[in-house]
């Protein structure tokens, strides 16, 4: 039987056809000594099918905490004994956050709310916020507001939200161990509506939540089937008070295997480093950017802090990877 790296070189690099699930399992199981070769191949795939540019994004929490859902990784659930309290960001502060993001050279600014789905108060805040940002800044605006109804999808598209984030979070087979207050199918339905409405779809999840290697491969292929424009890859950062608060962070080498494998499963998508990379990878994050990653969230996250944006921008400069310009998104 041909080795998975040889198979991937022909199938993915030459022909642009992503790994299937069985192949993804093989990639996720390559021995430690072959991880560098796996990453190098994933980097070649990324360069060939996506180019050398890196998409930079900033995010901010518009509505923090008090969420009625029980996503076991999340410190913002109101169902857990988490130290995170509810907070709302006002419009001037939201615009200031967008300014800070734009100043890094980012082309994306994502407005996030910890909710099951947006109510009218939140939709009003989003309408006002999107308009205020668009009036002042040249930056693409994304939103992540939970599960949507068709009318909400249509309205977000109409007011100029160009990308919507809604993560599947993990494999379908593991989802009931992560969330019990809604289903995988409900998440999938929102993703489908977003894409049909003409917004770009951002859909990824969190690795290292206790899923098996097989489930990690299952997740990669379920994402690939959804054909998202962007896949944010988070690594579990165990949050105090949550059901996953005592889990150990994923090992760096497993995280790098996953980065490369997700790239080989989705050769053309934007694959973004998101939360948890600081504790999981540390300085090895640069290896991930030379192993399939072609987008990063810079600066802070929703409730935790990231590296200063300048450090990530310096890393990209060191790697000679140009930051994607806004004009090329339009």
């Amino acid at each position: 039987m041909a080795h998975i790296l040889d198979v991937a070189r022909t199938q993915v690099l030459e022909h642009g056809i992503g790994l299937d699930e069985a192949q993804a399992v093989q990639a996720l199981r390559v021995p430690d000594a072959m991880v560098d070769a796996l990453l190098d191949l994933a980097h070649e795939v990324r360069l060939k099918w996506c180019g050398d540019e890196v998409e930079v994004e900033g995010i901010v929490s518009l509505k923090t905490g008090g969420c009625p859902e029980d996503c076991h990784f999340c410190s913002q659930s109101g169902l857990f004994d988490s130290p995170v309290r509810s907070a709302w960001l006002d419009i001037p502060s939201l615009v200031q956050a967008a300014r800070e993001t734009a100043a890094t050279g980012a082309t994306e600014f994502c407005i996030v709310a910890a909710v099951r789905g947006p109510d009218e108060r939140l939709m009003n805040q989003v309408r006002e916020g999107v308009a205020a940002i668009a009036a002042e800044l040249d930056i693409n605006i994304a939103c992540s507001l939970g599960m949507l109804g068709q009318d909400q999808v249509d309205e977000l598209a109409a007011i100029g939200v160009h990308r919507y984030n809604h993560n599947l979070e993990t494999a379908r087979s593991y989802f009931p161990d992560v969330v019990t207050t809604h289903t995988y199918g409900q998440r999938w339905d929102t993703c489908e509506m977003v894409r049909k409405a003409g917004m770009e779809l951002c859909c990824g999840g969190i690795l290292g939540m206790g899923e098996t290697v097989d489930q990690r491969a299952e997740f990669a292929l379920q994402l690939a089937a959804l054909e998202p424009d962007e896949v944010p890859l988070n690594f579990l950062n165990p949050r105090p008070g949550t059901p996953f608060g005592e889990q150990q962070p994923m090992s760096a080498i497993d995280a790098l295997r996953a980065v490369a494998t997700f790239r080989l499963a989705m050769p053309r998508t934007v694959l973004r480093f998101a939360g948890g990379r600081e504790i999981t990878l540390g300085e090895l994050a640069a290896r991930g950017v030379r192993g399939g990653i072609n987008a990063v969230i810079v600066g802070n996250y929703l409730t935790t802090l990231g590296r200063p944006a300048e450090q990530d921008l310096a890393m990209l400069a060191d790697l000679k990877m140009p930051i994607k310009a806004l004009a090329k998104n339009l």
Binding site: G58, V60, S61, T64, E100, P240, E278, N300, T304
Partner: protein, 73 residues
Amino acid sequence: MAAHAMTPDTGDASAYCDHCGGRDAAGDHGACARARELEPPRYCTRCRRRMVVQVTPTGWSARCVEHGILNPY
């Protein structure tokens, strides 16, 4: 009531750990300090109330209902 800034050297400002809310004098908070490198404070160091914390792309602010804003941005 106007919010006022707290500083580490005011009165009993360090009575409680701002990460876990435990008494500063009781136990080792080294792990809390390491965690705080990538997290904003969550507890008021004077009264251990949970604070309302807003993280932004380049900073954070935290407000105690009793003791005001810790670090306005």
